[in-house]
């Protein structure tokens, strides 16, 4: 065991100090974090206060008043306060609870920062005879201040009242200067739209308020009904979390088992294997290498899991995670790692160079890709027969079970542990068989064996 640990230690050091690992596994996530931080910083940068003029040509004379009212600083402030309240109201309970627990104002502060200060917009009413070409040219002006033309609204004559013989109403044209704040641009359009609706309602003898009520149906969150009661569903996040967990285990198992195969091929092709076998038994060598790469994979898992948790924490979404799933993530990593690592070690011992390994590895790689192809239907219907069956069949059961566990309707405990036991059974058989193939294959040079030959080695060794 001591020798196996020494082999493992070398394997870990050799992998951690290799350029491929440093760049691929460690630097990439760091770059992602830095990019995310820069991006979030840029997004949370408070935009400068928008000050300027909105010109409106209103042949109906029934829209301008509403627009003026809706674009007043007071109306802006009120509307934004209402929007923020609506956002807060629609936030998941867990996030609201977290925000309360932390006693911070992070979310409201961030939202306020994001929308920026209330703009100061002056409404400039244009005469019907206005030269539109000249008015549009004003949008190109470079001066800054209250008289800067920010937008030009041209209400069509039949925007409020239907033209004779027509069923549809007219609308409006909207011209803006380049680089107008998107938020403000949207708010101007909303104000024009709401003003036209109000004017239409009034024109056809309706109470504008009543019309607003008639057209307003709020967006609602779905609620899942389970034996434990009603649960609020967060479709987008709920859909991504199973994939994230499956991907975590996929990346860590793939990275480490690939390294294991590569290092075994390297030891074989550089003829160091026989020197090692003079000091350790084939079983100790393979066990040491697998243990070493287990730590490598675990590190990858922890790095990416840590990144995920940091991301969830920074968006105050950590409450969406069940702590137990992280525990099971490690259990399933262990199960699937040993199965795939044993296979990769056996293949590595049988071939002389990476190129030769492709034909042996391809079927297993396709198997490993199965969860990537099927995660959508499985996470959409985690209780289906297909989902239950796939989450019980090793070696892909770990991936599918994690998808099911992270879904909105997790499987019962007995299914989880049955899957774990089945996975452990295959992992044991895989390591046992791989040890035999490893011993024979490591000293064999020349044409690599096919699966049938490898099976024969397992039986005879």
């Amino acid at each position: 065991m001591k020798k196996a640990l020494q082999v493992a230690a070398r394997e870990i050091v050799a992998t951690f100090t290799s350029k491929g690992f440093v760049i691929g596994v460690l630097i990439t996530p760091v770059l992602i974090i830095i990019s995310a931080l820069i991006l979030s910083k840029a997004h949370l940068e408070t935009p400068p206060r928008v000050v300027g003029e909105v010109a409106i040509l209103d042949p109906t004379s029934e829209v301008t008043q509403g627009v003026t009212k809706l674009l007043s600083p007071a109306a802006f402030a009120l509307r934004r306060a209402q929007d923020l309240e609506l956002v807060a109201k629609n936030l998941p309970v867990s996030i609201r609870a977290l925000a309360l627990q932390n006693g911070t104002q992070t979310l409201p502060d961030a939202a306020k920062k994001l929308v920026g200060e209330v703009p100061e917009l002056h409404i400039q009413k244009l005469a019907e005879s206005a030269d539109l070409k000249r008015e549009k040219q004003a949008l190109l002006g470079k001066q800054e201040g209250p008289s800067t033309r920010l937008a030009l609204v041209i209400i069509e004559p039949d925007a409020v009242r239907r033209a004779a013989g027509k069923q549809d109403f007219g609308a409006y044209e909207f011209y803006v200067r380049e680089k107008l704040d998107r938020q403000v641009e949207g708010e101007i359009k909303t104000a024009v739209r709401e003003s036209i609706i109000a004017a239409r309602a009034k024109a056809y003898g309706m109470d504008p308020k009543e019309a607003e009520y008639l057209t307003d149906v709020p967006w609602v969150e779905s609620k899942g009904v389970t034996p434990e009661g009603e649960q609020k569903e967060h479709a987008a996040i709920a859909g991504l979390i199973p994939f994230a967990f499956m991907f975590l285990i996929f990346v860590s198992v793939m990275t480490s088992s690939q390294y294991l195969m590569t290092s075994t091929i390297e030891e074989k092709s550089s003829r160091i294997a026989e020197v090692l076998l003079s000091a350790v038994s084939p079983m100790e060598l393979m066990a040491g290498k697998i243990l070493g790469q287990f730590v490598v994979g675990l590190t990858v898992l922890l790095v990416y899991l840590g990144l995920g948790l940091i991301a969830l924490t920074s968006f105050a979404l950590l409450g969406l995670l069940d702590g137990w799933i992280i525990f099971y993530l490690f259990i399933f990593y262990l199960v699937s790692f040993f199965t795939f690592a044993a296979f990769m070690a056996a293949v590595g011992a049988c071939v002389n160079e990476i190129r030769e390994s492709q034909s042996l590895v391809m079927p297993v790689m396709l198997l490993l890709m199965l969860p990537i192809f099927l995660w959508v239907p499985i996470s959409r219907d985690p209780g289906s027969t297909l989902a239950v069956a796939l989450s019980m069949i090793p070696p892909v059961n770990s991936f599918f079970m994690l998808i099911r566990m992270a879904s909105s309707t997790p499987p019962p405990l007995w299914q989880i542990w049955t899957s774990i036991l089945l996975g452990l059974g295959l992992a044991y058989a895989a390591v046992w068989s791989a040890a035999k193939v490893f011993r024979v294959g490591l000293l064999l040079h020349g044409k690599p064996p096919d699966y049938r030959t490898m099976l024969r080695w397992v039986r005879m060794a």
Binding site: Q6, V7, A14, E267, I272, V275, S278, A279
Partner: protein, 325 residues
């Protein structure tokens, strides 16, 4: 305790080919044993089985009184035929790693590694990558790796291959020193002259079967010299006069010398006197068969059994012109 390695009826086949066939071998402790034979004779397979890297299909192996070398790996030093290094690893780290795998304490390795490097003229390479060393230096490095644990049994597979004459001489001296320390040494080679120079015991193997297993002294006694080499003082001397001597059966020319084949039962001392009296010699010496001669003689016959039936007293087989008797 008397024998370091004992093989009894060991057989190993790869597919239809028997790489080692019913091999019996005893290597006494403290001996320096040469394992000789041509390429593909089964030397490396036998050594790998002794090292428990391969396992025999039949037969028993005992190494340092253990049923398997796996139980005594820390007491064995091994230099495989196929030299291997971690190319990117630093020399010091490489030796420390292999030393620790052999159970040598880290503190001891700290002092041992520079000593060994200096002893094999590799000072200053500890911080270099293995791939930066020349082939000969890499070979020395692997030899150090085999010796770091001060083994009781040292097994070297073709250790002289690829070495320059100076390094070959250093290795010979090193092996002699190790033997004096009490180490049992088994080395395989197809360079029989090396075995002849170094060994006190030789095992010959051909097509997986042992064809000779003797001490050097025993071989000399068994393969009694029946040939005398004469270089005439006068190069134009009439050597054919020697044909008249009763003790001479055949004469073969070898450049400026002549190999004189003695008759069966002829007295060597008397024959030497008669030869010197007939042709004045610049040089007259008893010609001993080399291991290579013996080996070629045996394998030409095809098997050990048939070799016994042949005239093993025959002189060296040469490609030189023959002077008929």
């Amino acid at each position: 305790m008397q024998n370091a390695v004992v093989l009894k009826g060991v057989t190993k086949a790869f597919g239809d080919k028997r790489a080692v066939d019913d091999l019996d071998l005893v290597i006494p402790r403290g001996s320096l044993c040469g394992f000789i034979g041509p390429n593909g004779a089964g030397k490396t397979t036998s050594i790998r089985m002794i090292m428990s890297i391969l396992f025999p299909d039949q037969g028993d192996i005992s190494v340092l009184d253990h049923a398997s070398a796996l139980e005594a790996k820390d007491r064995i030093g091994y230099l495989p035929e196929e030299r291997g290094l971690y190319r990117k690893m630093k020399v010091g780290a490489f030796l420390r790693y292999l030393g620790r795998l052999k159970g040598v304490a880290s503190a001891r390795l700290k002092s041992q590694i520079p000593t060994w490097l200096a002893r094999l003229d590799l000072e200053g390479v500890e911080g270099k990558r293995c791939e930066d060393l020349s082939k000969g230096m890499q070979q020395k490095l692997q030899l150090i790796a085999a010796l770091l644990n001060e083994p009781e049994l040292l097994i070297l597979d073709e250790p002289f291959t690829g070495l320059d004459p100076v390094s070959t001489r250093s290795l010979r001296a090193l092996l002699a020193e190790e033997q004096q320390r009490g180490t049992t040494i088994l080395f395989s080679t197809h360079m029989m002259a090396e075995a002849e120079l170094l060994c006190d015991r030789v095992v010959m193997i051909h097509q997986g079967r042992k064809v000779l297993d003797q001490t050097i002294a025993g071989i000399r006694a068994q393969f009694d010299p029946r040939s005398v080499l004469i270089e005439p003082l006068d190069p134009s001397a009439d050597v054919s006069r020697l044909k008249a001597l009763a003790s001479i059966s055949r004469i073969e020319r070898q450049n400026d010398s002549y190999a004189l084949r003695l008759q069966e039962g002829a007295d060597l001392a008397a024959a030497m006197r008669d030869i010197a009296a007939t042709v004045a010699p610049a040089k007259l010496e008893v010609q001993r068969p080399s291991l290579e001669d013996i080996f070629v003689q045996i394998v030409t016959a095809g098997s050990q059994e048939s070799a016994k039936e042949l005239d093993i007293h025959a002189p060296a087989v040469t490609e030189k012109g023959r002077v008929s008797a």
